[in-house]
């Protein structure tokens, strides 16, 4: 009898493309998705358009993928829900659970940083810019932060515990970790877990820019000359399953979610705290029973902001010491941008793919070393021989979640 938690399906959608295989092929070749974004405002006013660099999803590819799902009875969908639905359908399909009665008793835990921004923008634009008295009647159900969990439940016929957890940029890492504990506790045998974000609407975009954390050029994690993060959009979802349940039905086992460490800095709403980060990394290793000196693929939070990268690098050096130099350190936000609530799950999915394939994807847009970020960064695609993935997520408000994945043969 084992309550080990294994991964039996993975799905994602992001600026890199539709699906895990397409995304992985691009990222392993060192291709990125951050590029010029020119998205019209709901009213078409040029001054209100979104303009800048972001990792955005090609609308034609999105529409083609969406047309393959039966979304008819789900009501109005914000992109936040659509991304989650696409990723969940892919993951459940790979797990061989599409249409299976086993899904009925399953659970859903998704992480989102904010609700349906585009839906809210459209409603407010009517009220404040056009002085119209009404907004679309489905504005609330389409934009509420829990909508993606409800929509995924409706599409897949899942009747077990279903919810969204929110912890800003760590939301979907917390979702995976809490889902793992649901299985360990025997509350569910199968959990559809991950996260989604659709933050490239005008209102969200301007708010992020106003905070002063968005790079005017592009995301350059741990690099000299880095100027901030690049936003991305999309979702990633995995099917987590108790090992016994997966083995009994002969499911493909893609890896194990072996450990989870979560801490709160209780210090500052935007600045990272080294002690809180260190505590989360150590807790994840303890939970997984993974030694700190074993070679690991480390998928950093690596946002490309001056502060995060320096503090994260210092925390990793403190925790791992000289053993850090036998690790391979990656930062995939340089390719898919920062998906806020969806980013932890996407980085975990790509990290597990890298672990399974034995190839580390490169950190992109690197201009040269920063003495404050002395890390064994992977700057060209290279082979790796690691058994574990450490995937870091550190959110505004000091909410930290670190996941440890283990390779399975």
């Amino acid at each position: 009898m084992s309550r080990s938690v294994v991964i039996t399906g993975m799905g994602c959608v992001s600026g890199l493309g539709m699906g895990v295989d397409a995304s992985w092929q691009r990222i392993r070749r060192g291709e990125g998705a951050i590029r010029a974004l020119d998205r019209p405002s709901p009213s078409g006013k040029p001054a209100w358009a979104v303009q800048g660099q972001a990792a955005w999803i090609d609308p034609d590819g999105l529409a083609a993928a969406a047309s393959r799902l039966d979304l008819r009875r789900l009501g109005r969908l914000d992109p936040l829900s659509l991304y989650a639905l696409l990723a969940a359908a892919e993951a459940v399909g790979q797990a061989g659970l599409a249409g299976s009665p086993a899904l009925r008793e399953s659970a859903i835990v998704l992480g989102c940083g904010s609700g349906g921004n585009a839906t809210i923008d459209t409603a407010y634009e009517r009220l404040f810019a056009r002085e119209q008295a009404k907004v679309h009647p489905q504005t609330i159900p389409a934009s509420m932060i829990s909508a993606p969990a409800s929509h995924v439940a409706m599409l897949l016929g899942i009747h077990g515990p279903t919810m969204v957890v929110a912890s800003a940029c760590a939301s979907s890492a917390h979702a995976l970790g809490e889902a793992m504990h649901m299985i360990r506790a025997g509350r569910a045998d199968v959990v559809v877990a991950g996260g989604s974000e659709a933050c490239l609407s005008l209102g969200s975009w301007v708010a992020w820019q106003s905070l002063g954390v968005v790079a005017p050029d592009t995301c350059r994690p741990f690099s000299q000359g880095r100027q901030g993060l690049s936003l991305g959009e999309g979702a990633a979802v995995v099917v987590l399953e108790s090992e016994d349940h997966a083995r009994a039905r002969g499911a493909p086992v893609l890896g194990e979610l072996a450990g989870y460490g979560a801490t709160s800095d209780a210090a500052d709403m935007t600045a990272p705290d080294r002690a809180g980060i260190e505590a989360a990394i150590r807790a994840a290793h303890r939970d997984a029973g993974a030694a700190l000196d074993q070679p690991a693929l480390i998928s950093t939070h690596g946002t490309g902001t001056r502060l995060n990268d320096a503090v994260e690098a210092a925390a990793m050096r403190e925790v791992y010491g000289a053993a850090l130099d036998v690790c391979a350190v990656i930062a995939t936000k340089s390719a898919h941008g920062h998906l806020i609530g969806g980013t932890g799950a996407l980085e975990f999915v790509l990290g597990m793919k890298a672990l399974a394939e034995g190839i580390a994807p490169p950190v992109l847009n690197h201009l040269g070393p920063d003495p404050e970020c002395a890390l064994p960064l992977v700057l060209e695609p290279r082979t790796i021989a690691c058994d574990i993935l450490v995937s870091n997520s550190f959110a505004f408000g000091g909410l930290n979640a670190v996941l440890i994945g283990r390779k399975r043969s």
């Binding site: 008819r72 009875r73 109005r76 009404k134 009647p137 159900p141």
Partner: protein, 78 residues
């Protein structure tokens, strides 16, 4: 702005998520699984596009598509 029956049907299909080909004149909203929230969404789009204000209470679930279209088209824009 005057509306045509085809325009009304297109809005019903989009907002209620029903194939346009399924919108037979004698089918009722219940037959087509068109919920009260779907109806409210359809009326919102009609008001937006054509300036017609229609009370949702005036559309019972037993309405046929033909009755619905006739009712909508009988109401003058404000």
């Amino acid at each position: 702005m005057a509306m045509t029956a085809d325009e009304v049907l297109a809005i019903v299909a989009t907002e209620a998520g029903v194939e346009a080909s399924a919108l037979r004149p004698d089918a009722t909203l219940v037959d087509l699984d068109i919920s009260s929230l779907d109806v409210v969404s359809v009326l919102f789009e009609l008001e937006d596009r054509f300036g017609v204000e229609i009370e949702p209470e005036s559309i019972p679930p037993t309405s046929t598509i033909a009755q619905f279209v006739d009712h909508v088209m009988s109401i003058s824009p404000r």
